[in-house]
Amino acid sequence: MLGRVTAPPPDATQEGGQRIPQWGFRGWLGKLRARNLRVRAYHRPGTIERCAAPGAGPVARTTSAKMAAASSSDSDSGRAESKEANSKWLDAHYDPVANIHTFSACLVLADLHGDGEHKLVVGDLGPSGQQPRLKVLKGPTVLTESPLPALPAAAATFLMEQHEPQAPALALASGPCVYVYKNLRPYFKFSLPPLPPNPLEQDLWHQAKEDRIDPLTLKEMLEGIREKAEVPLSVQSLRFLQLELSEMEAFVNQHKSKTIKRQTVITTMTTLKKNLSDEDAVSCLVLGCENKELLVLDPEAFTILAKMSLPSVPVFLEASGQFDVEFRLAAACRNGNIYILRRDSKHPKYCIELSAQPVGLVRVHKVLVVGSTEDSLHGFTHKVWLQQAPAPHSYLPSAQGPESPSGFLFPATPLSPLSPKPPQTPAVPCQGKKLWTVQMPAAILTMNLLDQRSRGLQAVMAGLANGEVRIYRDKALLNIIRAPDAVTSLCFGRYGREENTLIMTTRGGGLIIKILKRTAVFVEAGGEVGPPPAQATKLNVPRKTRLYVDQTLREREAGTAMHRAFQTDLYLLRLRTARAYVQALESSLSPMSMTAREPLKLHAVVQGLGPIFKLTLHLQNPSTARPALGLLICFLYNEALYALPQAFFKVPLLVPGLNYPLETFVESLSDKGISDIIKVLVLREGQSAPLLSAHINMPVSEGLAAA
């Protein structure tokens, strides 16, 4: 692994790149030991955080514990299995303790030695993201392994020259560098160009050098700068701020004479064909950086061919086309937007606004599929809109500008006083058209493309927190694989000599290799997602009649008038209802007395079969304190039909809250089976209007036959 570089390419020592005569990771390690821990924490929030979450331990979370149980019921051997009776996948390998901790961007399959035997390259974060390593696997075993100076951000393979034996070069982005390997030997190291440091910070270190300030003051001042963070601090200062009091002095003495350097880090990387679209054409590396820039590198000289600015930090990149002809870059950013860039622009052409943070971006033909933190996959058109982008200065902050350069990107967050004034109009036109959305049963941890060339199928794979790997073609679910642990990285392609191999690594560091059966055909699983089948059945819609057409025309012409007429009727209806209600209140036709001074409640019960019924009136005084005095009850009824012993009587004093049952007998006089209403009025002495009234529907007397 640690070899020496052979013949250097002619112009390798140009801008940004530096040739390494004595190659060795130890050298890098020394240089990069000053790693910025804050940067690491920010690095790809959606992915690393999940990968290296405490759930990495075997049973640290309830979900993983549940999953373990599920998988054991799934199959006796404990192997990962897709649950279908005749699975589409062959289980080639499963090692639950392979000690591979990574995410999809750091997995590549490539014919590194040009012998037709494809190897797996893993940029491994190490357990708990502590010991980053570059691993190369052949079949189920690790072929080579070497330490990395910083956490890997992405890995990619690409052809550097057209006319060499077809062994691709391997690029690994890590910290501020891209390490390029050929034949698995270190070949070139590209470093991002340094950024101008914060003048205030520079001044502080200068003072420290001349011993004009003590370490504690330095710390306070640096913290002050960090809070404002207009120009972020250098790695040196950030490391200093993490130190204990006792270590400060030594650190200052050791570092005070060094000039402070500020360098950004790479967050994502992809490849873009240079000038031919062939499978085996030369490709450029495209880097996304923490300082909101995209860089395109020359495949041979590693000079910067193009530099593009974004309104936010890119975390996922997709490229299509050729750099010299026409290309499109889609960059999913931390502000929840996807920006689309084209060859002729230094700034985004248009953007797609997501309602949540992206957790993965995959291009399937012309559709961009984005996974979001809302546990859903969205498909967007990848069509370029031939529209003029607005003047670039209207939204572009300085390269080190604060996170929110333009207000519209963060409508909810108040702008810090340091931010430039937000422009009034959206800077990047928002024009991506959403084609579909599918909801996942659990959080999406990782995504990648499944490209089955033999059948011309392209689909999206999504690894979920519940241990499932779901495969979708557009929004149609094709397959579910149930892994014994949550899958944190996925990659599909030729491995060894097998064309359709699926590589998965799990949260616990396991490695699962599955091979798609030769005879397997993905068919859309009906019913589970997508529109319900009823939506597809054709309705028997009658033909448009003359009447229908006339009516439509009339509605179109007289729409306003119709609406008004309807509204008038509606108001009339409401008015009438209100009137009837008021009338009912005024004439006390309700069983509840509404007057505030005399609250009363009445309800009546009729018992018996007839001809004599017992009528019980339950009167209640719901007021809290005041007893009700001087009330009268009067029955109104047809005297030809009913006879009551007393049609009018006094009510005793009603103590608040108590229920007073007042009983009376009612004799039905008719022998023809007629029934009628008896009205009960509750009156106040000296007032003619009743306080309340109740209508009692008397039952038909059934006692006739007996009588």
Partner: protein
């Protein structure tokens, strides 16, 4: 055809012809094995991946073999079944160093054994656990375990570890096959 050949044919001494299918995944060494079984003057020097299939002939002490050397590449594997009817014996070659694709070899073997043209025949199957010289190679016992060969109950089978480049283990396999074919005929 020489005079002697004609004569032995007339006398019934001419070697019996048998049709053999040579199957297995791509890169397992099928062509290399068949090549090694041919007389040394007929062997070809460089072996390239087979396209479709090729027909080769070689002789053992008492039989004349006509071998259908099928390509093992995924896209040609669906050709195999068209020759099952004619085959009187099967040579199934496994790359014992390709641990990852052992499941694929098993899958293809199972499909073969369940094919209607094979399923109910007592057709002898000779397995070569090839490339035993390689460092990653597993033993022939392990190969037969991984392919669950013990489940083949109704057909005679035999597994030999082999190194097709040096020719080791090949003769043992061919001798077994010859015995099986002759036993079936009598």
């Amino acid at each position: 055809m020489g005079l002697l050949d004609k004569l032995s044919g007339l006398l019934g001494l001419r070697k019996k012809e048998v049709h053999v299918l040579c199957l297995g995944l791509d890169n397992s060494g099928k062509t290399t094995i068949i090549n090694k079984l041919k007389p040394s003057n007929a062997q070809s020097q460089d072996i390239v991946p087979t396209i479709g299939f090729s027909i080769e002939k070689f002789k053992s002490s008492s039989l004349s073999f006509t071998v259908f050397d099928m390509s093992g590449q995924g896209r040609y594997r669906n050709l195999w079944e068209h020759y099952y009817k004619e085959g009187q014996a099967i040579i199934f070659v496994i790359d014992s160093s390709d641990r990852l694709r052992m499941v694929v070899a098993k899958e293809e073997l199972d499909t073969l054994l369940n094919h209607p043209d094979i399923k109910h025949r007592r057709i002898p199957i000779l397995f070569f656990a090839n490339k035993m010289d390689l460092r990653d190679a597993v033993t022939s016992v392990k190969v037969s375990q991984l392919l669950c060969l013990e489940n083949i109950k109704d057909k005679p089978w035999h597994i030999c570890a082999s190194d097709a480049i040096k020719g080791e283990g090949l003769q043992e396999g061919v001798d077994w096959l010859q015995d099986q074919i002759q036993a079936a005929k009598t």
